[in-house]
C-alpha cells in the first residue's frame, strides 16, 4: 500500500516521468497512468513476491510452529483445512493487488488528475474508459498471480519451510524467464507462466488484443491446477511429525 503512495509522491515532485516504460510519459498528465506503470514495474517481481510471501508461508509456518498438529487433531478434515489455506492465500493476493491498485488510482488522480489516457496504440480514451481499463488490467493480472499462489502453496506443503517455499516460488518464476531467453527455447515463451504477467497489456491496445489474455487463462490453469492438486495430495497424505 505504501508503494503506490511513494510512487505518486515521487511523481509529483519530479518534473518528468520514466520515459523508457510504456505510460511513463503520461504519468504527469493522467493519474490513471500511475497504476499502470506500477503494474508494469510490479508485475514481474513485486506482486509475485507479495503473493509468494503468504502462499509459501501459509502451511509451512504452521509446520514450523507445530500448530499444524494442533489443528489437525480437532474436528476438521485435512481437506477442509487445506481449502481454508487456499482461500486465505488466494484472497490475500487478490486483496493486496486490488488494494494497491485502488491506492495507486486515488493517489495518481490526486497528483496528476482524473484525465484522459493515451493507450499503448496511441489513441486517447476518456478518463472513465481508462478507469475501466485499469480495473480490468488489475483483474486480468490476478490470473497469473493466483497461479503463483498455487505454486507457493504446493511448495509450502512439500518443503515445510517458509523461506524455501517463498524463495522457491520466485526462483521458479525466474527459471521460466531464463528458459525464455535460451536459444532454441524461445518458442516456449508464450507458454511460460512468467510470460503471462504482462498479458493484461493487450487490453490497453485499440482495439483490445484478447489473444494474450485468453492464452494466459489456459496457460495459467495449466500451472495452477496441477500445483493445487499436488498441494492437496501432499497435504492429505503427509505425516505430520515434529514441532
Amino acid at each position: 500500500m505504501a508503494v503506490p503512495i511513494i510512487f505518486a509522491v515521487a511523481t509529483s515532485v519530479q518534473s518528468g516521468g520514466p520515459d523508457d516504460v510504456p505510460f511513463g510519459r503520461y504519468i504527469q498528465t493522467s493519474g490513471l497512468a500511475i497504476p499502470l506503470v506500477l503494474l508494469l514495474f510490479g508485475s514481474i517481481w513485486l506482486y509475485p513476491l507479495i503473493t509468494a510471501l503468504v502462499a509459501g508461508d501459509i502451511i509451512a509456518s504452521e509446520d514450523h510452529n507445530g500448530t499444524l498438529k494442533t489443528i489437525l487433531t480437532r474436528s476438521l478434515e485435512r481437506g477442509q483445512i487445506w481449502r481454508g489455506k487456499v482461500l486465505a492465500a488466494g484472497s490475500y493476493a487478490i486483496v493486496a493487488i486490488l488494494l494497491s491498485g485502488v491506492v495507486a488510482i486515488v493517489a495518481g488522480c490526486i497528483v496528476s488528475g482524473f484525465n484522459p489516457l493515451t493507450t499503448l496504440s496511441g489513441t486517447r480514451v476518456s478518463a472513465s474508459t481508462a478507469l475501466g481499463l485499469v480495473a480490468a488490467s488489475l483483474g486480468f493480472y490476478l490470473i497469473p498471480i493466483l497461479s503463483i499462489a498455487c505454486i507457493g502453496l504446493l511448495l509450502s506443503a512439500v518443503t515445510r519451510n517458509s523461506a524455501a517455499a517463498i524463495v522457491g516460488t520466485l526462483l521458479f518464476s525466474l527459471l521460466l524467464q531464463l528458459i525464455a531467453i535460451l536459444p532454441g527455447l524461445s518458442g516456449l515463451e508464450p507458454y511460460l507462466l512468467s510470460s503471462q504477467f504482462d498479458a493484461w497489456q493487450g487490453l490497453l491496445r485499440t482495439p483490445a488484443d484478447w489473444g494474450p489474455i485468453i492464452r494466459s487463462v489456459w496457460v495459467c490453469a495449466l500451472y495452477a491446477v496441477p500445483a493445487l492438486a499436488g498441494s492437496y495430495f501432499v497435504f492429505q497424505r503427509r505425516d505430520v511429525a515434529g514441532g
Binding site: N65, G66, T73, R74, S75, R237, D239
Partner: protein
C-alpha cells in the same frame, strides 16, 4: 451436530502397528487395547517409539502396517474418529502471538458445536483463568502444558491422549499435572498417558505397556508389574567378602555383584528372608539390607535381559507381518 449412535469398540484398539522411516523401524508391531475407564501408562525410554505410536493414534501420521481404532473408527481415514478424543503429542503447540483465550477460541472454532462455551470452565480446570489474556509466547512450559489440557477439554473427550504431560515441569508443576490427570480420570475419562517416568505411571495408571525399541515388552496391570519384577537389594555387612560368597550360594539370589561398598543382587522377598538367615548363620552380621526403589531401567533389564521367574510378559504381541 445430531446425536449419533455410540460407536462400538474400545477407546483404543491397536493391532500390529508398524511405522518405518526408511531403514529405521520406529514402531515395530505394537498391539494395545485401552478399555473404557483405564488410565493407561505407555511407558518407555526416550526414543522407544512412544510418540510415534501416539501420532498414529491421533491420525497425524500414517501407519506403515497395522491398524488403529478409536471407539471402533480409524483415525487415518477420517478425523471423525477423533470425536470424543482429545490430547496432544509432544508439547502442545499454540500460536505464540495470541493470548491463551484467543488460542482456545480458534481451536473451538475448529471443533464447532458447543466447544466455545466450554472455554471458561476449561481455563478454570487448569487454573489459567488469570493468565488467559496473556500471549502464549510469554507462558512458562508448565502453563503451556496446562493450556494443552484445556484445549483438549474443549472437546469434552471420553478419551484423553497425553504425551509425557509432566515432562519438563518443575516438581510442583509435575505434582499439579498429576493431580489434574487424576481428577479427570476420576471424572470418568479414559486416559492414555505416555511417560518415561516410572513413578508417574505408578501413581496414575492402572495398566501399563512397556515399550522398548518400538515393541511392547510388557503389558499388564500395574499391580502385577511390581510383583513380577524382581527387586534389586543392596546389602552391607561386617564381612563383605564372605557375604558375597553366601549370596552366590543362596537359592533365589541372582545377579550378585559388588557396587562401591555394597553388595547388590536381585531377589524376591522370600529369597531375601532366607538370605538374611544364611548370613547370620554364616557369622556375617547385617549392617544394612534394603530394597532399592525399582527404577524403570531396572525393570527394563529384568524384563528384557534377564528372565525373572513369573515375569513372563502377560501378553507379548506376536508381530504381525514380517519384521
Amino acid at each position: 451436530m445430531g446425536s449419533e449412535p455410540e460407536p462400538g469398540g474400545a477407546p483404543i484398539e491397536v493391532r500390529g502397528l508398524v511405522k518405518r522411516y526408511g531403514e529405521l523401524t520406529a514402531v515395530d508391531g505394537v498391539d494395545l487395547t485401552v478399555d473404557a475407564g483405564d488410565v493407561y501408562g505407555y511407558l518407555g525410554p526416550n526414543g522407544a517409539g512412544k510418540t510415534t505410536s501416539l501420532r498414529m493414534m491421533l491420525g497425524l501420521i500414517h501407519p506403515t502396517e497395522g491398524t488403529v481404532r478409536l471407539f471402533g473408527r480409524d483415525p487415518a481415514h477420517s478425523v471423525k474418529a477423533l470425536d470424543g478424543v482429545a490430547g496432544f503429542v509432544e508439547a502442545p503447540r499454540f500460536y505464540p502471538y495470541l493470548s491463551g483465550r484467543r488460542n482456545l477460541e480458534l481451536l473451538a472454532d475448529f471443533d464447532g458445536g458447543e466447544a466455545a462455551s466450554r472455554i471458561p470452565a476449561a481455563l478454570e480446570t487448569v487454573e489459567l483463568t488469570d493468565r488467559a489474556k496473556d500471549r502464549v509466547g510469554a507462558y512458562s512450559h508448565g502453563m503451556g502444558q496446562r493450556l494443552g489440557i484445556a484445549a483438549a477439554l474443549l472437546r469434552e473427550p471420553r478419551l484423553l491422549v497425553l504425551d509425557e504431560p509432566a515432562t519438563g515441569l518443575d516438581p510442583a508443576g509435575m505434582r499439579d499435572m498429576r493431580r489434574l490427570i487424576r481428577r479427570l480420570a476420576d471424572a470418568g475419562m479414559t486416559v492414555l498417558l505416555s511417560s518415561h517416568l516410572m513413578n508417574e505411571v505408578e501413581e496414575l495408571c492402572n495398566r501399563v505397556a512397556i515399550v522398548s525399541s518400538g515393541s511392547i515388552v510388557y503389558e499388564g496391570a500395574i499391580a502385577d508389574l511390581n510383583r513380577n519384577a524382581s527387586q534389586t537389594y543392596h546389602l552391607r555387612t561386617t564381612d563383605d567378602d564372605l557375604a558375597l560368597e553366601i549370596c552366590r550360594r543362596e537359592p533365589g539370589i541372582a545377579d550378585v555383584r559388588v557396587e562401591g561398598t555394597d553388595v547388590r543382587f536381585s531377589a524376591d522377598e522370600e529369597a531375601v528372608a532366607g538370605l538374611s538367615g544364611a548370613l547370620v548363620e554364616g557369622g556375617v552380621l547385617i549392617r544394612a539390607l534394603a530394597p532399592q526403589t525399582v527404577s524403570l531401567e531396572d525393570l527394563f533389564f529384568s524384563l528384557t535381559e534377564g528372565s525373572p521367574p513369573a515375569a513372563e510378559p502377560a501378553s507379548v504381541p506376536a508381530p504381525v507381518g514380517s519384521s
